[in-house]
């Protein structure tokens, strides 16, 4: 093993437990030169306490499986360099907020995805596989707006950051609403009105208070707050028109 630069160490406290309760436990992890928060967690599981549970898959910021609360803030851990988040050589790692905990650092993400679907976040075809593809001008305004939110990795960082989700468990949350907004702007989507009415119900986009935490923490630098605002406007306009 190449264990260069191991003289210094980090004080890491990691939340251990389930939805029924738990506590922080402390570990000492050697500092390495290229080390992400996921690597710290891995080190603990592989070498200090092999009962620790956490989740990851791609390890490069594409799958959105590895998000945790690091020093109080939600982050993708595979792309968070330890140097950018440690304070006084201390790290506090907890599961994401606003989702039920399965064990230790793993959460049950079902509510997040259920809401994604509930917000109407599914494409409804306007053409079938034997039809030619619809030409779409990449420079058109609608396409640009839709593209702005389409690269979401559904990591639930925004969902965890949002205080409105914390206060109002029915609220669909920023990511689901952002997906709904891309569909509203997608010329190929056939169910624009279905989406607009789905997000107009009592847990819908109108509950957002523009805290902006979603936009602030989104690791891929999307702007769900703007998308939600777009939905508020569109739903009102469509209500006034009808």
């Amino acid at each position: 093993m190449n264990t260069s630069n191991t003289s210094a160490s980090l004080n890491v406290s990691v939340w251990r437990g389930t939805s029924d309760g738990g506590e922080f436990r402390s570990y000492q992890v050697p500092v390495q030169s290229n080390q992400t928060v996921l690597d710290v967690v891995t080190w603990i599981q592989q070498r200090i306490d092999n009962t620790l549970s956490y989740r990851f898959a791609c390890r490069v910021g594409m799958c959105g499986s590895c998000a945790m609360t690091v020093n109080g803030e939600p982050r993708w851990t595979c792309r968070t360099h330890v140097n950018n988040v440690t304070e006084n050589a201390t790290l506090e790692i907890a599961p994401l907020r606003n989702l039920p905990v399965i064990k230790d650092l793993t959460t049950n993400m079902d509510p997040f995805f259920d809401k994604w679907i509930k917000a109407g976040g599914v494409h409804e075809p306007s053409a079938l596989r034997n039809d030619p593809m619809v030409p779409v001008n990449p420079e058109s305004k609608a396409r640009k707006v839709a593209s702005e939110g389409v690269e979401c990795i559904n990591c639930a960082v925004c969902y965890s950051a949002c205080d409105t989700v914390a206060a109002n468990p029915d609220y669909l949350g920023p990511a689901a609403l952002q997906r709904a907004w891309t569909l509203v702007n997608d010329v190929k989507h056939n169910g624009k009105n279905t989406v607009l009415s789905a997000v107009s119900e009592s847990g819908g986009c109108h509950n957002c208070h523009s805290h902006g935490s979603c936009t602030r923490y989104c690791p891929v630098e999307l702007n769900p707050m703007k998308a939600v605002a777009g939905l508020k406007k569109s739903t009102v306009l469509s209500l006034l028109r009808s």
């Binding site: 109080g72 205080d163 923490y217 605002a229």
Partner: protein, 113 residues
């Protein structure tokens, strides 16, 4: 544990807006009641107005107007963010609106004293 987002200027703007809204909503029935006194006993109203000449009461009233201004501009800011083409400068907008609110209140305060 630190709650995410609480160091965010937009979150602070939200809290300010909410607290001002709630305080205003609590104050409003009182305000209405006092004004209704005009109907039932103008003397009581005068008494009250005299009472409101007291410095502390002045400060409290100033605070309320300040809250109203904060809430008003906060609300306008919010609606601008929701409805108008959104710019990345909204954070400064938030700050500016609070400053404006404070400005109005100060003006009021200066004229009063």
């Amino acid at each position: 544990m630190i709650k995410p987002g609480r160091s965010n200027p937009l979150w602070l703007a939200f809290v300010l807006h909410r607290l001002s809204g709630v305080v205003l909503a609590l104050f409003l029935p009182l305000h209405f009641y006092v004004l209704s006194l005009a109907l039932t006993s103008p003397a009581a109203l005068d008494n009250f107005l005299a009472f409101s000449d007291l410095f502390v009461v002045k400060v409290a009233e100033t605070l309320l107007v300040l809250l109203l201004a904060v809430h008003l501009f906060g609300g306008l800011r919010l609606m601008a963010m929701e409805w108008l083409p959104w710019t990345d400068r909204q954070k400064s907008l938030a700050a500016a609106s609070v400053a404006l609110g404070a400005g109005v209140a100060c003006m009021f305060f200066l004229k009063v004293i």
